[in-house]
């Protein structure tokens, strides 16, 4: 089995983010690392975050930093990854790529203890960079520029210190003196020698300054001083002329200002009122903002509260450090303060957001200061505050993030054309059920009813230079309606259009005149109002029209073509006539190329299933240039220029190729390349779009021509970052469409369907999925689908949170306090409302502020029945007394008394640290009532451990409780034990059953294949895996095969060898299995690994599903970082050969951006086996043209053919 791996949705979570001017110029940009993907984002003028570039780097990015050489205009990006190399990137605006400026190897690859890459620090003047490991090694590179102003990098200077842990490093701003780097270090050498733990408890963290002597080219430890033992993060304080220099040390509960030769200035971080005393407050992300006259820091705690830190200083003496409560936003991985007054918050889980500063927190608020710090006998006096609604920030945009995907199922529950992907995402109060559908999201601007059923719609401008459209023209079967676009859209009658007849085409002709083609002629409306009318000869009518701005071709009934051109005076002149052999099905003229008089190509589709290209040049006018026969009669034709390769932000580096698109009557979209000179057709591709013949329309997307195909659902063909993408739109079936541009809506589409006129815009280009979000209460764990009833049943649980009642009480208290403070007269029912209605935008929504923390042995959990169509929860059961649900399954017991029942495995009082303990485990059995909309507890059975896996098996229930696999039957009061096997190594986390085989996944030891002998009532393990695998997801593929994913980011398939499988099945008594002994406590047989692939992300769910109607099945997986991928099995040996060669050449000629070897990355834990990396192959179009040709030559193909192959295989998956 050979598989093709393809990422369908790139990771949506963010690891770290930096901001700067990466393209030069004024615009503020953000570079984010999403694990294995590096993105460049830019907020546009409307404050929406746009992805400019997204590159898969085939490595794990761990840190990012930006720097700028003195006097330069743009920032460089330094990447610390698992490649054992330091990489410096520059954004190339012209080609829209990251250029690798430098790549220096310093160590082994992989995320190791002593190989740098975890931390990066930059000298604020851009003269040096330090890259550190979390232990021992730190390297300093000197950055400079040569005579040609190119960036140079020195050989590394070592700043190692063995037996030392490093918590954080940062640059110290000391103007133009020698660069200094600061590090929080902890020496463990003594702790290791002392087994009593005495030394370990006395270990002391130090703040160390390393000085890079630029003259001697040498790094020395300049200064080291004890620092608070909770220190975890360093923040650079501006120096030189701008501030006092030094660093802010963020420690648990404190922020301390430190500098060499300066006394510590310490202030306590204010605590939330409701925080348990045992918990500290840790700063997890920091941002510094520097203005001309002042600077401040924003520090965010692990609970999401942002504090503004300011320093009172006089030259380089700091007299006071103030920490003031600023606002509360969801916890971030990184914050970026943009110069344009925005705050980009890269959330660690859930959606990212862009905020605008309303103020910078100058108003009064809870404040802690070093001046008022009180030390008592129990330590420093804490300062308390209560989170409040946003005061200084306003959220203006959100970037969707699926991180983390906890569970996922693909099913066509809504009976749409393609299946939906149901994902459980997020954590705690920000968790949600997201329903992903393939296709782009559409936002509807307006829908208005028309007086009849329209057949077509167009928009026209009055003049070529106009920015916006002037009219919307709607044609009915016997009339034409003209609407003018202004502040409002209203009907007009003075436009000059003939309104008593249907229209066939309406467009702008020449520079400033309008043309209406109706069945009996062409009406040419000049700018000054003069009207020229051309009438059809005799009784013939016009059947089809094709036009561009300067040329018009009409087809008369019977098959005569008449060709008109606009002459210099703006007159429409008949040029040529041509008789076709039969009726014309459709026509199109290519748009006039830049700087030319006319376009050379006319495409004519006939009912005899052919498409002809005719010339429109004066010297061979109406000569057939080429003929293409197609599988079905064409319905619609469209010429579209496609730049197949990246270049510039809009992809305009390579010569475009002209594509002729044809919508055929059998629902297929047929695309073929038209040779720009000869008009020959070549390289055709076809794709089934839907049940209706696609009608093709040219619209404008991001300022470029794109294609809208209207079949049984609308599709958009457009160019995104150099790739031509054909994606469905999540919208209803449309009849006819045109692009639309007005003051309110710059790039929209106007379409007709039924009796309505619809105006919509297309959002978030480049995405594969659009999502519908249904909020949930706690971290969702697992869910089951009820396909017949179209309901989902899910379990949610959170550790360390207060129960709903406790939260309610606390909230009430807080409201009372707040209201008493504000006006003293709180109205009771107002409070009730605020508390009851979760969806309401109440000022302290948990979604925003997180649940109040409780002790770590507290659990909250609920079981929910949800109707995904309406998003309504039909039943919600909160579990009581620290009980939390961990597993769920539906089960039909064979006595059939109750029908389908729901089994939920729970644990009471579960604790992980210092050792995993549990008070009790239970299996609840629920009965569905009210047609499955509600649940009723039948009984619960106590078990000795946590039931982490449940599965129906032959009318009974299989449960994995710790290392025990047990079979239960349903009793009146409780479940009845029938049979068990205690021989599993650690903890059972997954059970799947097929016929009499049971596939059990162990948390640490991969799969165990078991067999149940009904006559003996015994469970045997007959095969297991020889590789330790920390299972996170598993899926049953076939009788002998299982797919699994481990904690380290690998996906693998194991298969029982055929002969062993046969032997087991043939053994009639089962005696062999029973008495056969394995070696070293293992099972007698071993499964073989047949597929192995490192995804680079923890895969949490796997499923076999088909994502397109009629397509083959593939394995779809979701990951913690919020990405969705698919593994597609090749069906032919040729394809395998082709793609493995392509992959090989791509590896050689296009090594990954951040210096990780591709093969080594995909084999990070186990050698990759029989999986071809589609993500690497899909980078082929981004290569320079000569490299593309070189690779294509070696594969004995043309670049076009390779692109076609890539497109084909993608179309098989999605």
């Amino acid at each position: 089995m050979y598989l093709y791996s393809l990422t369908l949705q790139r990771p949506t979570g963010i690891i770290c983010a930096i901001n700067g001017n990466f393209s030069g110029g004024k615009s503020q940009e953000i570079v984010v690392a999403r694990g294995k993907v590096l993105d460049l984002l830019r907020p546009d003028d409307n404050g929406r975050i746009q992805t400019i570039l997204s590159v898969e780097i085939f490595g794990a990015i761990r840190s990012l930093a930006q720097f700028r050489l003195m006097g330069a205009q743009k920032d460089y990006i330094v990447v610390g990854s698992d490649s054992g190399r330091i990489v410096i990137l520059e954004y190339n605006k012209e080609k829209n790529v990251f250029d690798k400026v430098h790549q220096e190897t310093f160590g082994k690859s992989g995320c190791r203890r002593i190989v740098p890459g975890q931390y990066l620090a930059i000298d604020p003047k851009g003269r040096a960079v330090m890259i550190g490991a979390c232990e021992k090694q730190k390297l300093v590179y000197v950055l400079n520029r040569d005579t040609a102003a190119r960036l140079t990098i020195s050989s590394p200077l070592e700043a190692h210190k063995s037996h030392t842990l490093v918590y954080s490093i940062c640059g110290v701003d000391c103007g133009f003196e020698n660069p200094i780097f600061a590090a929080i270090e902890l020496d463990y050498s003594e702790a290791d020698q002392d087994s009593t733990g005495q030394a370990a408890s006395e270990a002391q963290k130090h703040l160390t300054f390393y000085e890079l002597d630029l003259g001697l080219n040498h790094v020395s430890r300049k200064w080291s001083e004890q620092v608070d033992n909770g220190a975890n993060l360093l923040v650079t304080v501006p120096g030189g002329g701008d501030g006092p220099s030094g660093v802010l040390v963020c420690a648990e509960n404190f922020v301390i200002y430190k500098n060499q030769g300066h006394p510590d200035v310490r202030a306590v971080i204010p605590r939330r009122d409701d925080l348990p005393a045992e918990r500290g407050v840790l700063i997890v992300s920091a941002a510094m903002h520097k203005l001309k006259s002042m600077f401040f820091f924003l520090l965010q705690t692990e609970y999401g509260d942002i504090f503004k830190v300011t320093l009172e200083h006089n030259n380089d003496r700091v007299s006071e450090l103030k920490i003031k409560y600023f606002d509360t936003i969801p916890v971030t991985a990184s914050m970026c303060v943009l110069k344009s007054g925005f705050l980009f918050a890269a959330s660690e889980f859930g959606n990212h957001a862009l905020y605008q500063f309303k103020s910078i927190g100058d108003e009064d608020d809870v404040e802690a200061s070093s001046a008022t710090l009180m030390e008592t006998e129990e330590g420093f006096q804490p300062v308390f505050f209560q989170p409040r609604r946003l005061k200084n920030l306003v959220r203006i945009d959100q970037v969707e993030s699926l991180m983390p995907i906890m569970d996922m199922k693909v099913s066509n529950l809504f009976e749409e054309e393609t299946p939906q992907i149901f994902t459980l995402c997020g954590r705690g109060p920000r968790s949600s059920l997201r329903i992903l559908r393939t296709g782009l999201a559409v936002s509807e601007m307006a829908v208005s009813k028309l007086p009849g059923i329209p057949s077509a719609v167009w928009t026209v401008k009055k003049n070529v230079i106009d920015e916006f459209d002037a009219y919307i023209v709607v044609s009915f079967t016997n009339a034409t309606l003209v609407l003018s676009i202004g502040e409002t859209v209203e009907e007009v009658s003075d436009s000059g259009f003939l309104d008593t007849t249907p229209s066939l085409a309406v467009s702008l002709i020449g520079d400033d005149s309008l043309m209406q083609v109706h069945p009996n002629g062409i009406r040419h409306i000049r700018e000054d109002g003069r009207i020229n009318e051309w009438r059809t000869p005799g009784k013939r009518t016009i059947s089809k029209v094709g036009s561009n701005r300067l040329q018009v071709v009409i087809a008369l009934s019977g098959g005569e073509l008449i060709y008109f051109e606009v002459d210099v005076t703006g007159q429409l002149m008949e040029v040529e006539k041509h008789e076709m052999s039969g009726d014309v099905a459709c026509l199109d003229i290519a748009p006039v190329p830049e700087g030319r008089q006319r376009s050379r190509f006319l495409a004519v589709g006939s009912y005899d299933k052919t498409i002809r290209i005719l010339s429109l040049d004066p010297d061979d006018c109406m000569q057939a240039l080429s003929v293409q026969s197609v599988s079905s009669a064409p319905e619609s034709l469209l010429f579209l220029e496609v730049q197949a390769s990246v270049g510039g932000e809009d992809g305009a580096d390579h010569p475009a190729s002209l594509f002729l698109n044809a919508g055929l009557q059998n629902g297929v979209l047929f695309r073929t390349v038209v040779d720009m000179v000869t008009g020959q057709l070549s390289d055709s591709r076809s794709r089934f779009l839907g049940l209706r013949a696609p009608k093709l329309f040219s619209i404008i997307v991001r300022g470029k021509r794109a294609m809208l195909c209207l079949s049984s659902r609308p599709w958009l063909g457009y160019i995104h970052q150099g790739h031509f993408l054909l994606t469905p739109l999540s919208y209803e079936t449309l009849e006819y469409a045109a692009s639309f541009s007005s003051d309110q809506c710059v790039e929209g589409v106007v379409a007709v369907a039924g009796e309505a006129l619809r105006i919509f815009t297309i959002e978030r280009l480049g995405e594969t999925f659009n999502e519908t979000v249904i909020p949930l209460r706690y971290t969702p764990r697992k869910f089951v689908l009820q396909p017949k009833r179209k309901l989902l049943v899910m379990i949610e649980s959170d550790q360390g949170a207060l129960t709903a009642e406790e939260r309610e009480a606390a909230r009430k208290e807080c409201f009372e306090a707040a209201q008493a403070g504000e006006n003293g007269t709180g109205s009771a029912d107002q409070m009730e409302n605020g508390g009851d209605d979760e969806d309401k935008d109440d000022p302290l929504s948990d979604e925003h502020y997180g649940y109040p923390k409780a002790e770590s042995d507290k659990w909250v959990s609920c079981i929910r029945v949800l109707d995904p169509r309406t998003g309504n929860t039909t039943c919600l059961l909160e579990l009581q007394e620290n009980e939390a649900a961990f597993s769920i399954c539906t089960v039909n017991f064979h006595d059939k008394e109750y029908g389908t029942l729901l089994a939920v495995g729970t644990a009471k009082g579960l604790q992980f640290l210092p050792k995993r303990t549990v008070t009790a485990g239970f299996i609840h059995i629920y009965r569905f009532v009210e047609e499955g909309r509600s649940l009723e507890l039948l009984h619960k059975t106590q078990v000795e451990g946590v039931p982490l896996a449940l599965c129906q098996f032959q009318g009974r229930l299989l449960a994995g409780i710790g290392p025990v696999l047990r079979l239960y039957d349903l009793g009146k009061r409780r479940l009845l034990r029938k049979c068990e096997n205690k021989l599993f190594p650690n903890t059972i986390v997954s059970i799947q059953a097929y016929r009499d085989r049971i596939y059990v996944g162990d948390v640490q030891e991969s799969f165990h294949y078991c067999k149940y002998r009904r006559d003996e009532n015994q469970l045997y393990i007959f095969a297991d895996d020889c590789v330790p695998r920390w299972l996170t997801a598993s899926y049953h593929i076939d009788f002998d095969t299982m797919a699994g994913a481990d904690k380290f980011g690998n996906i693998y398939f194991v298969r029982l060898p055929q002969d062993v499988s046969d032997e087991i099945e043939e053994d009639p008594t089962g005696g062999r299995i029973k008495w056969e002994q394995g070696k070293l406590n293992g099972a007698p047989n071993k499964v073989e690994e047949i597929v192995q692939f490192h995804v680079g992300d923890v895969v949490t769910c796997l499923q076999k599903a088909s994502l397109i109607p009629g397509g083959g099945e593939c394995i779809v997986f979701g990951t913690v970082m919020g990405s969705v991928g698919a593994l597609h099995a090749f069906t032919s040996r040729d394809d395998v050969d082709f793609f493995s060669h392509l992959e090989m050449h791509m590896r050689q000629d296009h090594p990954p951006l951040c210096g990780r070897d591709h093969m080594a990355y995909r084999s990070a834990y186990f050698p990759v086996k029989d999986v071809i990396d589609g993500d690497l192959c899909e980078q082929f179009p981004t290569l320079p043209m000569d490299l593309q040709r070189k690779i294509a030559d070696e594969l004995d193909r043309t670049p076009g053919e390779i692109l076609k192959k890539l497109e084909e295989v993608r179309n098989k998956i999605i």
Binding site: C134, V284, S285, M406, T779, Q799, K1047, G1049, T1119
Partner: protein, 79 residues
Amino acid sequence: MQASDRFNINSQLEHLQAKYVGTGHADLNRFEWAVNIQRDSYASYIGHYPLLAYFGIAENESIGRERYSFMQRRLVFYL
């Protein structure tokens, strides 16, 4: 140190031991071995962000807190 010592296998090993932290040797005791494994593992968890997030979800802590406590656990062990 004499010139011949440089090629002595033992001194070479010692040098390598010092250079590559975490490498085992013949006289390693159980505690040292476990400590090394644990330090290696935590370093790997800290380096692989998705894993850190995975632990963060399990323990319902923020990723920043999780990273910090993993760093701390490299000093103090739960064996």
